[in-house]
């Protein structure tokens, strides 16, 4: 697969998980307030389309996408990629069900006009929060399994504990700000839902701010972790990655990632907080959209560096240690 495909696949699948988490939060935040639920409902549009984009990205770059759809789960015994594929499938199914329970809700769902489905969905609506929790858990499990797929000895630069951390950050940052941006757009178009939006934005800002701080720590820890390696050849690969990030091919993107994804994100966060305090939701919502844009660009850039600057062991000068290790025990 080309790097672009991996970037889109991981960022968007993680964003989908985050979007689902955002909707679960919204569901709990609204409690029984129908007006709030109606407002938040639009956010349910984010998760599934984004997940579908990520699936298309993954499949479109396989040599045999249709076979992949059927057979990627075949090696659950040893392959993290297989496991990722299975968990993702389960997550997407759950996300679809969860999304249906929002969009086809008979009273405020956008698609309540479509015949038959709302009637089938109606008895399950009260279970929506529970479905949400289960989906959320599966989504988080997916984040972990997806990270494990890249944490293999053949990819020393990705075989770090910051990898799952970055995936988690992407999910929360991109996913929650995505839903917040959609809701902001809704507010700016219809000028309704001030109160739920305000509450939601505060939560968004809070989570986003914490995530950005965690991101800063994660990025710094990552560069120092890359300097430590268990084997000589892993060290060479990691050094090449670091060089590429700092002064090489990916230096520009890495710096842009910091400037946009961290710096501008903090600026936007502050810019959202100020009008939000003054209850100027028009401005706050506009800046929330900016926040999402900046965060998404930052995450995409960051993931591009993640995959691009990575040097697999197979590309490092011939791996003589592994060659001797591969001989294995002689009988």
């Amino acid at each position: 697969m080309s790097h672009t495909a991996y970037v889109v696949f991981t960022v968007f699948s993680q964003m989908a998980v985050g979007a689902l988490i955002a909707m679960v939060i919204a569901d709990f935040l609204a409690k029984k307030d129908k007006a709030a639920l109606k407002f938040f409902e639009t956010g349910a549009w984010v998760c599934v389309p984004v997940a579908v984009i990520s699936l298309i990205a993954m499949l479109s770059h396989e040599a045999r996408p249709f076979l992949a759809m059927r057979s990627m789960n075949a090696n659950l015994a040893t392959s993290w990629l297989s496991r990722e594929s299975l968990v993702l499938t389960v997550f997407v199914v759950l996300a679809v069900i969860y999304t249906v329970l929002w969009l086809f809700e008979p009273e405020y769902g956008s698609l309540r006009g479509i015949p038959l489905i709302p009637k089938i969905a109606k008895p399950f609506i009260p279970l929506r929060k529970a479905v949400g929790i289960i989906s959320l858990i599966v989504g988080i499990v997916f984040l972990g399994v997806s990270a494990k797929a890249y944490m293999i000895p053949g990819l020393p630069s990705l075989n770090q504990s910051t990898t799952p951390l970055f995936f988690f950050i992407t999910a929360l940052l991109a996913g929650i700000t995505a839903v917040a941006a959609v809701l902001s757009v809704k507010y700016m178009m219809k000028r309704e839902g001030e109160e739920p939006l305000a509450r939601y934005l505060w939560i968004t800002v809070g989570i986003a701010f914490v995530m950005v701080i965690v991101l800063i720590v994660g990025l710094l820890v990552n560069t120092s972790m890359l300097q430590i390696a268990e084997t000589k050849y892993a060290s060479v690969a990691q050094t090449e990655t670091l060089t590429s990030m700092k002064t090489g091919e990916y230096a520009t993107q890495y710096i842009a990632r910091w400037v946009i994804g961290v710096g501008l994100a903090l600026v936007c966060l502050a810019a959202v907080v100020l009008p939000l305090k003054k209850k100027d939701l028009a401005k706050a919502s506009a800046l929330t959209i900016a926040l999402f844009a900046v965060v998404l660009i930052g995450e995409i850039l960051g993931r591009a560096v993640f995959f691009g600057a990575n040097v697999p062991l197979g590309e490092v000068m011939p791996n003589i240690e592994a060659f001797y290790a591969a001989i294995g025990p002689i009988t």
Binding site: M1, E62, A63, R64, P65, L67, A68, S71, M72, N73, A74, N75, T78, S79, W80, L81, S82, S85, A149, I152, P153, G154, L155, Y233, P312, L313, G314, E315, M317, P318, N319, I320, A322, F323, A326, I327, G328, P329, I330, T331
Partner: protein, 180 residues
Amino acid sequence: MTTYKFLNVIEKCIDCGGCFAICKDQNKVPEGTARMRVVTINEGKPGEKNIPISCMHCTDPPCVAACPTKALSKREDGIVMTDKSKCIGCGYCGWACPFGAPQYPHDLPENLKKLGLEGIMDKCTLCVQPFVPEEVDREPKPRCALFCATKARLGGDIAEILPVYNEAKVRSTISYQEHV
């Protein structure tokens, strides 16, 4: 029990390309991809070494563990084989392999594209299966080793080649490494 392996006495490899060419010829590997290549490190300087690289048919192959569709498997005689009909070209085995042995040929000629081999993983099979898979497996006979100009590349039953490898690695007690 036969266990097939490759061992390289890299001090003898002269980068003549014989292994590369006979592998291509025997297995009809198309242009742009290679199952076998020689990598030179420290070119032009003392310490220059040539290392023949192909699938090493590892005892515990990371590629077999990694493959999501079970297209890769290790035979009883140790050869790691690819079932091209199951491969989806995801590239994961290429990342898992510490030698970068798996290749994903692109821009294949039309006749090979029609067979659905574009992007499907190809690697050394000890000459058991050529690039276009055949119904019946051939007898393992690593021609890269048989044709190696200096007998640097050894291939075959590990019980047979390991003593040869050990003997080849032993140098007499006189040692003269000097450079002007």
